[in-house]
């Protein structure tokens, strides 16, 4: 039973892969694997950010809108202000960190509950990102509110962030976002599992007072968690901008929900029953595999949502009821 708890979810994942390899034309193969990764890269990166806030017992509802704000900012910097890719990237990262800092300060200093603070931030950003262009998408040649035309364009370097492909086994196989996902996933995993900072963050999530009484600077770690979340969301937004090649008006609600789903599914992986970076990555992958496989089998979009929900619920019931039975009691 222990085995079922630990490896049940991963077995399900493998089962899905086998199923689709047999029944979905073109599913098996490195190219297919790579684009599944690619399709979950952005959600995955956002989900890793949420994971960090979940670890300290918080929750970040603003990631979706931070990502879309970052996408708009990158586009605005390059297309309207005609800045270089470098400046745009720095600006986005700084914005992500700043929003994280504000979220953190709201929660830590003014004691606003995290769901509330980040929800407010979400609404605020959804509006804010539309004000400079009065609700238009940002693309080269667009007309600005003052009537002039935006002459800048996305720097090719920036576009490479979303589009470059590294050679790996096959030529031009590995897209840059996938590399970002893997690297960030590893970094977050190492940070949370192997460093003392990660350990202290888990302690805060489990018993904030105890952590504080053992000399942990609880406030600082909480703020750091929200800043990590903000920065990762802004990276996700930049990848989105690079992939789309423009600043697209979008609310980011679906990004939020998918990222939250991935992070929460992560609870079920390896029987962790707590937020963890490996589980989050597996959760993102799981959703990606499911959706890509179903799409390849020509399932209409609404059945995809249904099956996503169904598989999610079944996987959860399986993992959690087993681990509940193990820990005993009635």
């Amino acid at each position: 039973m222990d085995l079922a708890i630990r490896y049940g979810f991963l077995a399900l994942l493998v089962g899905l892969v086998v199923f689709f390899s047999v029944f979905a034309n073109g599913f098996a193969g490195p190219r297919s694997a790579v684009f599944i990764f690619q399709s979950v890269a952005i959600t995955g990166i956002l989900a890793l950010g949420v994971t960090c806030t979940l670890v300290v017992g918080g929750f970040d509802l603003s990631i979706g809108s931070v990502a879309t704000s970052s996408m708009m900012l990158a586009a605005y910097m390059m297309v309207v202000l005609e800045q270089s890719a470098f400046v745009a990237i720095i600006a986005c990262l700084a914005m992500g960190a700043l929003i994280g800092l504000i979220n953190g300060l709201l929660i830590v200093k003014t004691k606003v509950p995290d769901l509330l603070a980040t929800l407010g931030m979400m609404f605020l950003l959804v509006g804010l990102q539309r004000i400079p262009t009065e609700g238009r998408s940002i693309a080269t040649g667009m007309t600005l509110p003052d009537g002039s035309t935006a002459e800048g364009s996305f720097s090719p370097l920036f576009l490479q962030l979303g589009r470059h492909r590294f050679d790996f086994m096959l030529d031009n196989l590995l897209p840059a976002p996938v590399v970002f996902l893997v690297v960030i996933g590893l970094l977050v995993w190492v940070f949370l599992e192997l460093t003392r900072h990660g350990r202290l963050m888990y302690a805060i999530g489990s018993n904030e007072r105890a952590a504080s009484l053992t000399g942990t600077n609880v406030n600082r770690y909480k703020i750091v968690a929200y800043m990590i979340s903000g920065v990762l969301a802004s990276i996700g937004g930049m990848l989105l901008a690079a992939r789309l090649g423009r600043g697209d008006i979008a609310s980011g609600t679906n990004l939020l929900l998918d990222a939250v789903a991935a992070a929460l599914i992560g609870f079920a992986v390896l029987g962790a029953a707590k937020p963890n970076a490996f589980g989050t990555s597996m959760g993102a992958l799981f959703v990606g595999i499911l959706l890509q496989g179903l799409t390849m089998m020509n399932a209409p979009y609404y059945t995809q949502d249904f099956i996503k929900g169904l598989v999610l619920v079944i996987a959860l019931v399986f993992t959690f009821s087993l681990s509940a039975r193990k820990s005993g009691g009635h």
């Binding site: 350990r199 302690a203 489990s206 018993n207 007072r209 105890a210 009484l213 053992t214 009691g329 009635h330």
Partner: protein, 508 residues
């Protein structure tokens, strides 16, 4: 009066590999107070949880008033008349509700209560229950604003007001001082005179002497001794529970080393009398006093949690004024806080991770924690404090209460410091372990000053060179732990007391 109310036959319970109760048989007669003694991890709380419907037993049978008894939930047990005050105080109260609701919550849960709340009636009833217990509390106050002692008293008051047939009290006095405990004992006597069977678990010999009509000793999940009759054999009971004789604690006061802590004119709260105090290396000083006398306030102001109103603190001759525990720890001042469930235990962590929490950087290179290194420390401390567990990576939640407490102490004993503050370190710790820990504290005291904050006098006498008595947030008396006159200390502790509860309401 002495017919058997509850009878356990061959009860078994295991957690995974760990066989906790082994064919345990015990009967609880009506109208008597059965004290259950046993070392930490012997299985007392597990037994309690089986009786109160929290855990299901693996085997054996239990009858209550002649009928088969296998409660599937706490509410079933309560309805059958088995009312329990659990060891973990957090399991007894609901912080967001007011005192009245907390006192009446079990009645609200009964189907017969009716649909709507009867506000006025509830408040009146709550006042009545509170006054019976001698609780001078505003029943409309949220429990979240109360300290651990009041919470414990609320849980006890509720249980006693429930008209139980079997009342189970699992270490009810662990956070109480003598006068509250005495009120509790009077009530227990009254209930048992009415024919209630009481199962009482405690590590405090003074409680046991005061209240027991029978003593059951328990060791490793089995009953190892039953003592009844007019004169109870306390020593025999202790031996039965430990499986060996226990030596007396002998305190020999060593020569104090150089001065560590100097306090002058310290005023803890507005209106309190300022006091002076000094502490030297190799000195262990116990701070005692009634509930709310300001012991914790004193400890907390030294650890940067409270800011004193005025006064001067110096450590090693240098001014000491810290605002966070972090800063205090950096200056070599460590504190093990009372109320471990709220303030110390990290429930998601295993033993090792709990132990190394404050000094994680010692186990880390470039921030990377060395698991091997921290495991070594954990294993050393498990041995030094004889913590009962399966291994150093057991989840902390699977340990018995007393063993959890030992882990919390180990946390701070693993490192050298200048000033060690231990607030209620013996909460829930069995007598032998208490002695062991006391010895350990004294052994390692050489290069630091040690302050132990305890509300029980026995504990103070067992560990300290000096005893200071606090009252109204100030030092009321001081004694050297040599041929002390117990009565003198007791007068100092209780003599200066304002009427019960006044100290509490004063700061509420």
């Amino acid at each position: 009066m002495n017919e058997t109310l509850c009878d356990l036959r061959g009860v078994d319970k295991s957690f995974g590999e760990n066989r906790v109760l082994k064919q345990l048989s015990l009967s609880l007669p009506a109208g008597s107070v059965t004290v259950l003694m046993g070392a930490n991890g012997a299985g007392k709380s597990t037994l309690v949880k089986i009786l109160s419907g929290v855990h299901a037993r693996d085997g054996g049978s239990i009858t209550l008033m002649g009928r088969e008894f296998a409660p599937a939930s706490p509410s079933e047990a309560i309805r059958a008349g088995v009312v329990t005050v659990h060891q973990n105080i957090n399991d007894g109260v609901i912080p967001d509700l007011d005192v009245a609701s907390n006192l009446l919550i079990d009645r609200l849960a009964e189907p017969g209560y009716g649909f709507f709340l009867k506000r006025r009636q509830n408040y009146a009833e709550a006042e009545r229950i509170a006054s019976q217990m001698g609780l001078a509390l505003n029943v409309r106050q949220p429990v979240a604003e109360l300290g651990v002692a009041d919470r414990q008293l609320i849980a006890i008051a509720r249980a006693m007001a429930h008209d139980p047939r079997l009342l189970i009290l699992d270490e009810p006095t662990s956070s109480l001082s003598a006068s509250e405990a005495e009120r509790l004992f009077l009530l227990i006597e009254r209930l048992s005179a009415k024919g209630v069977a009481v199962l009482y678990i405690s590590h405090r010999m003074s409680d046991i002497r005061r209240i027991a009509t029978r003593i059951v000793s328990m060791r490793d999940g089995e009953i190892s001794g039953l003592f009844e009759g007019d004169t109870l054999d306390y020593e025999g009971a202790v031996n039965a529970m430990l499986g060996q004789r226990m030596s007396d604690a002998v305190i020999s006061i060593p020569a104090p080393g150089k001065r560590v802590l100097e306090i002058s004119g310290l005023q803890l709260i507005e209106g309190a009398r300022p006091f002076d105090f000094n502490l030297a290396e190799n000195e262990v000083v116990a701070v005692t006093g009634l509930l709310g006398s300001g012991k914790s306030a004193f400890a907390q102001s030294l650890f940067g949690l409270d800011q004193p109103v005025s006064g001067r603190i110096r450590i090693d001759g240098q001014d000491y004024r810290v605002r966070t525990p972090q800063a205090a720890i950096a200056r070599g001042v460590f504190m093990s806080a009372k109320d471990r469930a709220n303030n110390a235990v990290v429930a998601d962590f295993d033993i090792t991770r709990n132990m190394t929490l404050p000094f994680l950087s010692r186990y880390a290179k470039l921030s990377f924690v060395s698991r091997a290194k921290e495991r070594r420390t954990a294993n050393d401390m498990i041995e030094a404090l004889s913590i009962v567990c399966q291994g150093e990576s057991d989840s902390i939640g699977t340990l018995s209460g007393g063993n959890q407490q030992k882990v919390m102490l180990a946390r701070w004993l693993a490192e050298e410091c200048r000033l060690l503050l231990l607030d209620e370190p013996f909460q829930g710790v069995d007598i032998r372990a208490r002695r062991d820990i006391g010895r350990k504290i004294r052994e390692t005291a050489k290069n630091r000053g040690t302050l132990v904050f305890v509300s029980e006098l026995d504990e103070a006498l067992e560990v300290a060179d000096r005893i200071i008595v606090m009252s109204e947030h100030s030092v009321a008396a001081e004694f050297r732990n040599e041929n002390v006159d117990l009565n003198e200390i007791l007068t100092a502790v209780t003599g200066a007391v304002p009427p019960a509860g006044a100290a509490r309401t004063a700061h509420a």
